[in-house]
């Protein structure tokens, strides 16, 4: 009885906290007959600002968008369509319901013209629905699901940085060709992990490889232990050449630590990681991951142009940018350029302006905004973590093995998508 009352009270307290947190933030007033609504452009960054994905994107993505605005102002000065450009941000805590209500609040009450980022696939899909309903723009950066350009695609949603197909195609195919044909796949048992497992299995089969075993680990994995799966990987017949882990964030850290503990590399099982950010390598140290291959959407030390952006970013944030940060910068820039070119922030006009456009900027190389499904395609990279002995600069942890051309990096437009 006490327990039941306790749980009830805790639930009530938690609910109250959410309600309180959800309040605040009035909307801007719209008046006048300027080119853009209310004379102002408002960009909204909606992402995880306190949880597992807050380091790889989070508040530093707000900073990246601010850099984009500063650059836009510097470039156009008095000729800019408006000088009143601001950023709003909100924490969706990776909860789809919260993402949904925050997105509505941004569009309706804060006058947001464009929502950016939104990690966590389930949350991203809910925001796409809101964008469609409100006829306002949404550039997804940090979510991976191909459904955003598949069955859930819509006219106002663009998918910017990466997706599960890009990751599987890059890592799955190349690792099969270069490292070994037999795979054991370990994935977190929820939407993202299942999607990744399917994409990887398909890519591996296409490249002539074989998945000899696969397991869905509990998500979230409360025990933090993956040893049962790691031990199984070493005993499978035929023995896998590659352990493909689809875990992300802290769970990836657990898998890698235990992979090293059980010395699987010495037993001839290489590690391939489905999704990894530079911030993950920084936290695990390159020594723990040396030799691991993965697909990267962008790397800060790839060339001089990237490095210059990374230097500015580091001055502001103290860290090097992940690909999500660079993609947020690029997305905000391309949106502002489109508004400048069209002379209006009317969403339908901007969509027409963007569709089919070919772009090259700090993030998009050989970039193209596909009209058919709103997938933004660009060159992707096959990366390998350097051994500790070759790391000479903090954050410079990988070497780029191969550039995957934009047309090959992403899947062809899906027949499931009708905009």
């Amino acid at each position: 009885m006490v327990m039941r009352r306790t749980v009830g009270l805790v639930a009530a307290a938690t609910a109250t906290a959410f309600v309180v947190a959800g309040c605040g933030g009035g909307g801007p007033q719209s008046e006048g007959d300027e080119k853009v609504t209310g004379g102002a452009i408002v960009l909204g960054v909606l992402n995880d600002q306190s949880g597992a994905y807050s380091e790889l994107s989070g508040r530093n993505s707000v900073t990246a968008v601010e850099l984009a605005i500063a650059d836009f102002r510097a470039k156009y000065g008095d000729r800019a369509v408006t000088t009143d450009i601001s950023v709003r941000s909100a924490d969706h805590q990776n909860k789809p319901d919260l993402a949904n209500s925050k997105a509505q609040e941004m569009y309706d009450r804060q006058g947001v013209d464009l929502i950016l980022d939104v990690p966590t696939s389930s949350a991203a899909l809910r925001v796409a629905d809101v964008a469609k309903e409100k006829r306002r723009l949404y550039f997804n950066i940090s979510a991976a699901t191909t459904d955003l350009t598949g069955k859930s695609c819509n006219k106002y949603t663009f998918h910017y940085a990466y997706d599960t197909y890009m990751l599987a195609n890059g890592t799955g195919r190349t690792t099969t060709e270069q490292v070994g044909r037999n795979w054991y796949i370990l994935y977190p048992n929820y939407a993202f992990g299942q999607d990744m497992e399917k994409s990887f299995s398909a890519a591996i089969a296409d490249a002539g490889g074989r998945v000899v075993g696969k397991d869905g680990a509990p998500f979230p994995n409360t025990s933090g232990d993956y040893s049962s799966y790691l031990l199984k990987a070493a005993t499978l017949d035929p023995k896998p050449d590659v352990l493909g882990t689809m875990q992300a964030g802290a769970e990836l850290v657990n898998v890698v630590k235990q992979y090293n503990e059980f010395e699987l590399r010495d037993k001839g099982v290489s590690l391939a990681v489905g999704l990894m950010f530079i911030t993950d390598i920084h936290s695990l140290t390159p020594a723990a991951l040396a030799g691991t291959t993965y697909t990267d959407a962008w790397y800060w030390n790839f060339d001089q142009q990237n490095r210059e952006f990374a230097d500015r970013f580091q001055q502001e944030t103290g860290a090097r940018p992940s690909f999500a940060h660079a993609a947020n910068y690029s997305a905000a820039t391309q949106y502002l350029e489109a508004v400048q070119a069209a002379g209006t922030d009317d969403a339908d006009t901007i969509v027409a302006e963007l569709e089919g456009k070919e772009v090259n900027d700090v993030f998009l190389r050989n970039g193209k905004i596909r009209a058919a499904d709103h997938r933004v395609i660009h060159d992707a990279y096959l990366a390998q973590v350097k051994p500790q002995s070759e790391v000479t600069e903090e954050w410079d942890y990988v070497r780029i093995l191969d550039t995957i051309p934009a047309e090959e990096a992403f899947r062809a437009p899906s027949p499931d998508c009708t905009l």
Binding site: V2, R5, T6, L9, V10, A13, S50, G51, A52, S54, E55, N189, D215, G216, A217, P218, F219, P220, N221, T222, S223, G224, D225, S227, S228, Y229, L231, K232, T235, A250, E251, V253, N254, K257, Q258, E261, F262, E263, T279, D280, H282, S283, L284, T285, A288
Partner: protein, 293 residues
Amino acid sequence: MTALLQSTFNGLVSGAFYALLALGLAVIFGMLRVVNFAHGAFYMLGAFGAYVLLAEAGVPFWVALVVVPLALALLGMALERAFIHRLTRLDPLYNFLLTFGLTLILQDLVKLRYGVQSSPYEAPAGLRGSVDFGLFDFPTYRVFILGFAVAVCVGVWWALARTRVGMIVRAATERPELTRALGINVGRWITPVFGFGIALAGLAGVLAAPMRAVNPLMGADLIIVVFAVVVIGGLGSIFGSVAAGFGIGMVQAWAEAYLSAFPIVAQTIVFIVMAAVLLWRPAGLFGRAEAPA
């Protein structure tokens, strides 16, 4: 056979963490009647303590193993004096909420300073590599954890069973009024016992640092399972919490190894066992029905 032995061993290692955490919870609950929700946060602080000492002062694992639990015991005792003891006379719910609040504060303070990304920590040089058991080899560090945790549990049992302090703690746990009536000052042992329980959580945290992701939320998920372990063992039962800790670790490992086609089973097995145990023995496996006052 080898596979069964391996997964059993793994289960015992996971169970070692459950047992150390559940033991601390049981001791605290027995003496203070406080369900310490902040136990997971102290486990996290233990791991972070080890990390901070190594990263900022170069203090090795072995020293951290002693220093961190002691420091956390002091912190725990200070918190007990400052807040928790003021609420012990009220409904247990109040301390449950207080410690829940403490958890959020401790987590966010660490988050503020170190972010959510996991911090790196390596096993000490002497415990890397693996031990050959003939049938299979096993990481040295895991063997160490298992041996160490068993030693700590036996040590605590010995202290409770054979020392005068232990006798007072057991008496106060089982019959607080009667113990007081015999002229024993129960009150003066409350704060040290709370500190001791916290030290066990910190110890588990230090042990976890080399093999688990060290981040501010590492205790948040784990503590839910540990609560289930305590309920299965019997609330307040010292032996029950340790036995249930190791037992649940093994059951989870077996479920992961042999029922991997159904990940949902491995995910929920702890709670399935808890529900079954509560139906069969409402006071837990080793708990006694509410003692008459």
